[in-house]
Symmetry: C2
Subunit: 415 residues, 2 copies
C-alpha cells in the first residue's frame, strides 16, 4: 500500500478513539506537545538548517527562505500558539439545536469532529504545528502534506510531536505527515474520498487551484484575495487615505491586502493627486485607468489582466468610477469574494454596498486587513474560506467540526 | 454558447437581484406560482402524458412510470407544497453572530443566499417545483437538470412557473431548466465552477456517484443509505420487533429504511425465530449470517456484497453479533453514515452507540424512518446530506444558505 493510503488509513482508525477524548485530555496533550517543541528546539533548528541549505543551493528566493527559517524565537512562538489553542473553548459536544417532537422524539443536534482532515500546504513549518494543534483540539485526525522544501523540518517536528503524544491520551496515529515529496502524493490525497473527510489547501493560487479542480474529497477553498477598497464621493478624505494605505502597505503579501482601489470621480477630483503621491512615497507602483493617469501621470495603464491579478506586492490598480453601481459591478467581475470595503459618509451607499457585494467580509469604513481569525476574536485560524459552503471567511475551531443528530425515543415507529 | 452555460449565466445575473427581494415579495411569488400550477393543471397533465407514452414505448418499469405520472391530485399536492414553503420563516438576513471588538469594530455574521444552486435529479417532476420553491424562497437562483424521461412535463411546468413569475417580483431568469437530454449536459454542469455555487444531486447512487466524483463545483452529497438497526441483549422484545419491522417495511424504497439488522446473540436466543417469522409474514426475504440460518433455515446466506448493498426493497440482511463493539464495527465498515439505531434498555450501551457511531442521525429506541425534514419539524426538505461538510442529515431551508461577515468601522486600520 502507498505511503499516502496507509497513513490515511492509520489516521482514520485513530480518529475513532480521538472522538472519545475529553477536552482536558486534549488540552493536556497540546501543552505537553508545546513543551516538547521547546525542549527539542535545537534538533528542530538543525533539521531546518538542512532545508535552508538545500533551498539556498536550489536558488530559493530570500523571502521564501525567510518563511522557511526557524530559530528559537520562532519555535517559542509556535509552541505558544499550541498553548493558546489549548486554552480555547472546545466546540466538540456543543448542542446546536434541540427539537422536541409531538410524538415524543427528542432530537439533539451536536457538534462532532469532521473525522480526518487533509492539509496541503507550502514551505511554512509553523503550519505543521498550527494545523496539527487545531485539528487535534477539535477531535480530528490530520494528514499533513507540506512543501518538499520544508521536509526535513516537518519530519523532525512531527517526530518530536509523536514522541510527546506517546505521553498523552492522544493516539499518535492521529497525526500523519506525508513524506513523499513528489507531486503524485498530493494527487493521491485528492482522490482519497471516503478516507479523508475534507481537504484544506493553504498556499498560493496554483496550489489551491490544483486542489479545487482535482479533488474528489470535499474541499474548503481558502485564500485567494483580490480585495477592493471603494472611496465613495462622500468619503472623509483623511479616513479614506488611512484605510486605503493601510489595506495596501501594512502587509502587502497577504490575502486580505488591497489589490485595486476604486475611486468615485468626484472624490478623485479633490483628492486623487494627493492620494497617488502618498502611495508613491510608500513605494507602491500604480497601474491606473485612463482617468487615473490624469492625476498620476507617472502611473502605467492598468490592463484587464492587472485587475484580475492578486499581486501580494507593492503594486496597486486604481480605477475611477462614476457611481456606486460601477464600483459594485467591477468588484463582482474581478473580486474573489474575500474582503471588500467602502469608505463613505452615506449610510444609504454603505448599506447598498454591504448588501450587494458578495464576499466573505464586507467593510464600511475599516481596512480589509482585519479579515483574520485573531482580529475577529476567534483566538485561532485555520485559514480564510472564500467558498460559500460550510464555512465562509476566517475559520476558527467550529469550522473544523460537523454535526450529528442524536434522537432519543421510547419505541416510536413511523405511521 | 452552450445551453448549459448560457442558462447558468442568466441564473447568475438573476441571483444578484434575487438577493435583494423581501420575504413578502418571495412568498407572494410562491403563492402565485402555486395558483398557476392548479390553473394550468390540464396542460401539465397533457405534457406528462407524452412522457408517459414515450416511457411505456421504451419499456420503462411500472414503478418508474408511477413516479413520473401526474394527475390533478398530485399537481394539487405539489402546489400545496409551494404554499407551505411560502409559510416557512425566511432564513435570509438572520443574524448568526455579533462580535464587538475592543478596537470598536462591530462584526455581524448574517445569513445570505448561496447564489446559484444546480439540482441534478431523475424522473420525478415534483422535484422540479419543490427544488425551485426551496431555492427561490432562500434567495437562490436555480439551474434544474431533470431526467430526460420527464422532459416534456418539466418543460411545461417551468413554462407555467415562468409565466407566473412574470407577474411577481421574482426575476424569471432565476429559474432555469436544462432541456438538453444528453448526459453531456450533466457533465458540463459539473464543471461550471464559478457560475454555480453548489450542486445537489438527488436520485440513485449512480447519479450521485457521477456527481461527487466529477464535479469541480462544491457538492452536497445526498441520499445513499445503508441503515442498520442493532437489537442489543437487553432490548425490549415487542419494541425491538416493532422498530425493526417498521424500519424495513413501512417504505422499503427510501434511503432511511433499514438494510441490515444486527442482533445480539443473547437476544437472538429467545427472540430471533419469532422475529424472522414476522419478517417472513411481511414478504421480506432474509439473507443471514451462519448463526442466523440456525434460527431461520429458509434464509439464504448473506455475502459481504449483500452487507454493502442498499436494496431499497423487501430484502434484509441479518447478522448475529456477540457484543456492542462488533455491531459498531460492522456499521463502521458497511454504513453510509446516514441513519443508525440501537434498541436497548441499557443507558450505558445507548450512550456508547450514540457517541461512537458516525452517522448523520443516530437513534436510541426509535425507527430510522424518522430521518426526514418533515419528521424533524423543518417544514421542508431539499434532501438528506450524508456528507459532513456544510449540512448533515435532513436539510431544511438554512442548508440552502451561506453567511457573510458585515463589519462596521469608523476608520479603523490595522497596526
Amino acid at each position: 500500500m502507498s505511503e499516502v493510503r496507509s497513513k490515511a488509513q492509520l489516521a482514520k482508525q485513530a480518529a475513532f478513539s480521538l472522538g472519545k477524548l475529553s477536552t482536558d485530555e486534549k488540552n493536556q496533550a497540546l501543552i505537553i506537545m508545546a513543551d516538547a517543541l521547546i525542549q527539542r528546539a535545537a534538533d528542530i533548528i538543525e533539521a531546518n538548517a538542512e532545508d535552508l541549505r538545500l533551498g539556498e543551493e536550489g536558488g530559493t528566493s530570500a523571502s521564501l527562505l525567510d518563511r522557511l527559517a526557524l530559530n528559537e524565537a520562532r519555535i517559542k512562538a509556535i509552541a505558544e500558539g499550541l498553548r493558546q489553542i489549548a486554552e480555547l473553548p472546545d466546540p466538540i459536544g456543543d448542542i446546536l439545536e434541540t427539537i422536541e417532537r409531538p410524538n415524543g422524539l427528542s432530537i439533539v443536534k451536536k457538534r462532532v469532529p469532521l473525522g480526518v482532515i487533509g492539509i496541503i500546504y507550502e514551505a511554512r513549518p509553523n503550519v505543521t504545528v498550527d494545523a496539527a494543534g487545531l485539528c487535534l483540539k477539535t477531535g480530528n485526525a490530520v494528514v499533513l502534506r507540506g512543501g518538499s522544501s520544508a521536509l526535513a523540518s516537518n519530519r523532525k517536528i512531527v517526530e518530536v510531536l509523536h514522541e510527546a503524544m506517546e505521553r498523552t491520551a492522544l493516539p499518535k496515529d492521529a497525526l500523519q505527515l506525508i513524506e513523499d515529496p513528489n507531486r503524485s502524493s498530493v494527487d493521491e490525497m485528492l482522490k482519497l474520498r471516503g478516507m479523508l473527510d475534507v481537504i484544506i489547501p493553504r498556499g498560493g493560487s496554483s496550489l489551491i487551484q490544483n486542489v479545487v479542480m482535482n479533488s474528489t474529497v470535499p474541499v474548503i477553498e481558502t485564500g485567494a484575495g483580490i480585495c477592493h477598497t471603494y472611496l465613495d464621493a462622500s468619503a472623509e478624505p483623511s479616513m479614506a487615505a488611512a484605510i486605503s494605505i493601510n489595506a495596501k502597505v501594512q502587509r502587502p503579501s497577504v490575502c486580505n491586502a488591497m489589490e485595486t482601489l476604486l475611486v468615485h470621480a468626484d472624490y478623485a477630483k479633490s483628492n486623487m493627486t494627493a492620494l497617488a503621491e502618498a502611495f508613491g512615497e510608500r513605494k507602491v507602483e500604480l497601474r491606473g485607468c485612463e482617468r487615473t493617469l490624469q492625476y498620476a501621470p507617472w502611473a502605467t495603464e492598468a490592463t484587464t489582466e492587472d485587475y484580475a491579478t492578486e499581486y501580494n506586492d507593492y503594486i496597486l490598480n486604481v480605477k475611477i468610477v462614476d457611481h456606486l453601481d460601477e464600483a459594485i459591478a467591477h468588484i463582482s467581475k474581478y473580486g474573489t469574494k474575500h474582503s471588500e470595503c467602502i469608505v463613505t459618509e452615506s449610510a444609504d451607499h454603505a448599506n447598498r454596498f454591504l448588501q450587494e457585494v458578495d464576499a466573505a467580509a464586507v467593510y464600511h469604513n475599516a481596512s480589509t486587513r482585519f479579515t483574520d481569525g485573531f482580529e475577529f476574536g476567534f483566538g485561532a485560524e485555520i485559514g480564510i474560506s472564500t467558498q460559500k459552503l460550510h464555512a465562509r471567511g476566517p475559520m476558527g475551531l467550529p469550522a473544523l467540526t460537523s454535526s450529528k443528530y442524536v434522537i432519543i425515543g421510547s419505541g416510536q415507529i413511523r405511521e
